[in-house]
Symmetry: D5
Subunit: 124 residues, 10 copies
């Protein structure tokens, strides 16, 4: 797999959120060898490091000819991103294209052990 690069979080004093949408994920079905497609949604609260987007694109591209089950690959991508960027919080959502009349989405989250989520401010 290509290496995911990071850069120093330019604002480590506050919790803030980075949302990333990647509609061009494709891998192969381990059973049939045929292509699968998904849109990936990555949401995270950086700690000391941010994920560099060009290397993220290459990392995602690295699955193009890999066999991967829906549940396993979603957790795997989250694990890889967490390992490299050590965020306060990270969520990976993978919305797969329809297969056999069934639409499947897998969502996994990671919370840093010593991190307290900030109170949510809802405005009317």
């Amino acid at each position: 797999m290509p290496i995911i690069e990071t850069f120093i979080n330019p604002n480590q004093e506050r919790n803030y959120t980075i949302h990333i949408r990647m509609p061009e994920f494709t891998c192969l079905c381990p059973k049939t060898g045929q292509p699968d497609f998904a849109t990936l949604f990555l949401d995270y609260v950086p700690k000391e490091l941010c994920v560099e987007l060009k290397s993220l694109k290459n990392y995602i591209w690295g699955y193009r000819n890999d066999g991967a089950f829906h549940e396993a690959v979603t957790n795997q991508i989250l694990d890889d991103l967490v390992k490299i960027s050590m965020p306060n919080f990270m969520r990976m959502r993978a919305e797969f294209n329809v297969r056999g009349g069934i639409y499947t989405t897998v969502v996994a989250e990671h919370i840093a052990t010593n991190w307290t989520p900030p109170t949510v401010i809802n405005l009317p």
Copy 2:
């Protein structure tokens, strides 16, 4: 009814969610014998087992020539899926097509007795 198959949850260390949408559910109205149609939404947090999608498709297909009331069949499908896959949490939502100018949706949930739902992290 066809048997619902399962496979070992590839990541049992974290609570994660699987969302499944099946727009092709059809059964028969027990009163009139005429076809009913619904879109099923299955959302669950697996424990040790995940639901295998092809067998799920066949199980759903098994209702095609069955008589089934809206409220009963939604609870029945949830019960069958819970019995086989023993998830931490599972929700079944059935949005039925309009009949007599009325649109009906039924939603039922199951929570495992010893399971504590994780804190929801809302990001701005």
Copy 3:
């Protein structure tokens, strides 16, 4: 008014939800005698009884030539449905068509005195 019929709730062991949308409500304005139109949204958690849909359609139809103010009729329909079906929880939302450039919606709820709402499970 036509009688609203009920049937025995087929699953009294769990709290589950029934959502009903009726886009064809019409009554008369008590001031002008002219027709009013609304879409009704009924959401409820049944206890021992479920609302039978055909009789509900006829009951709603019964307002066709009745004069009815927006606020009063919404509360009245909720009261009638609660009286007949004695649910754990019931909400009636009436979205009226525009009159005089103004769109009005009225929402009323009933909670059974001895009922505790279940904890909401939010999944990512």
Copy 4:
């Protein structure tokens, strides 16, 4: 300004909500004298009085040739409506049309001092 009229709340036993949308608000910009336009959203829980819609329409129409800043006029309309109808809760949201490539919305709320908001029931 035209007088806002009220009528007796037909159901004072329960907290219920009235939502009103008025897409035809227009006033004048106090700086340039040119027309401003907004859609107003009024949401309230009545206590003893409900707001009469025809007089509300005339009251809103009364701003047509008035100069009014976005922030001030939203608070002013809320104050006027609260003073007349003394609701348990009232919210005014004003979504102004784009000016200079910028879209502005102002939202203000009033809660009666002795009123406890009811527990929100979220249904799946």
Copy 5:
């Protein structure tokens, strides 16, 4: 950078919200020198001062020929606005246009140290 101007908050007695959407933000990519585009969403609860819109437009326009990374510029704009207008609460959301098949959004918030967010009133 052009100076952001303020004016006296016309209603300092209540917490209310101002939402501002600016679809015309553009700056330059510090790596490639090519243009970047974003829609900015500013939501704030004013304290003693409100942000004057024309000067805000000019301030945003001031980034047109500046190099700016997504994460840094979002935090920078929030910091500048907080410094000038000292609000009770302020949130800046920047939705950047797609680059390399990836859509990125950055969201940052500021809460005044001595400010208690009001209870959110959710109406059905």
Copy 6:
């Protein structure tokens, strides 16, 4: 049936078009006696007379308690409007609400015998 009124076409020198949408048509099914609902679209090129809107509303309201088949009532309304207003061209489109899982729309047109439709100017 209430009488449809007309007024003198204020510009008889050019062919121009009037489009009218009425989402609140309701009549009764002649077979079952139950209510039917439709949205009516009236498009016409006036000659010497225009259709007065308030009387049109009352005329449409006149079908409220009449039994009427989809195909027949659409042609009947067109015939009545043509007889009263003698337009150069008139089209009536009735989009009925779903019944038995089937959505039906009926469209009928009238062209004055001595009228030549103007050349259509399509702009890119």
Copy 7:
């Protein structure tokens, strides 16, 4: 197959159009035996006969347990409807649900040999 019934066209003096949408067509794939689903759009200009909707519903329902290829079944339904109702013009459009990542729609038309389509009147 259930018989399609007809009734006398109530207005045989003008060409007019009847549009029918049936979102609940289902048959079986002749290769795999698994269910297929489609939305049918029927558009026709009646001559002496109109298609009766309840019998049309039953006829469509008759394909529920039949094997049928997309191209063949669309032409077959058109042929059956033409044979029974002998319209001036009839079009059948079948939009099938996705299979193998591919969405297929088939459209066939019939024109009566001695029928001249009316000039289309396009209004601005």
Copy 8:
């Protein structure tokens, strides 16, 4: 009425189209004196002159306190614009807000006597 200004068409060698949408038209109903609202769509092929936008805005603003019937005002605005700018072709479309449950749109066109519309090029 404010004067509509023009400027020299910068490209008089080809037929080209200018589309203008103005969602902020308001006038008064001549019968009731109450405000009416419309969105205006102006489409034209300039000849020697183009319509200047700021003066157009002021001209439209000039109807704010005028009584005006739907059909008459649409034709009047078209006539005024044609008289000033003498275009090859001009179309005015006015979509009025709902009144009495009825939505009305009026569309009028002007073609210069010696102008031949160019052949429309439709691309697949």
Copy 9:
């Protein structure tokens, strides 16, 4: 490239249309080697042969690791499909995903030399 298979057109007596949408086309950019994505729309009027969908899916899949320019590959796919299925008419439309802030779509058509397109019947 995988072979595109065909089957005998089940209704060769009439011109009818088959629309196929394939949202899962991917190839490689010949310049950068990076993945490109497109949605393909195939519309054709079959003559003696229809395109078999499973082999079409495999053929499209065959481009997964090929370098291909937008304009060339769209024409190439059309040529291959025409050669195999010899249709009366065929159109290929390829909507590529955004690259460099630019969205590109290419559309090519083939008409059989001895085929006359049927008159288009437009219904109101």
Copy 10:
């Protein structure tokens, strides 16, 4: 202005269409010096040359700090592209962002003098 590059049309035997959408056009208002924004739609039928996309992006970027009126700049871009690529047909559509409550779009076309547009094939 940056130079627009071209490449040899890979299929000069047939008329085919290339659609290009560029949502990131920005220039300056010649009167006020403030930024303007537009989405450009380029549709063309190439002859011997195709427009190279990267150089097109740079050319469009070249207007960033230029003053340009809506009507003039749309015609200018069309002229520049026609001069370089000598297409059979080319259309430029520029949809500008709202200014002063008014939305403006300008559309210009070029047809090669010796080119005959192909017959449009409309499929049902």
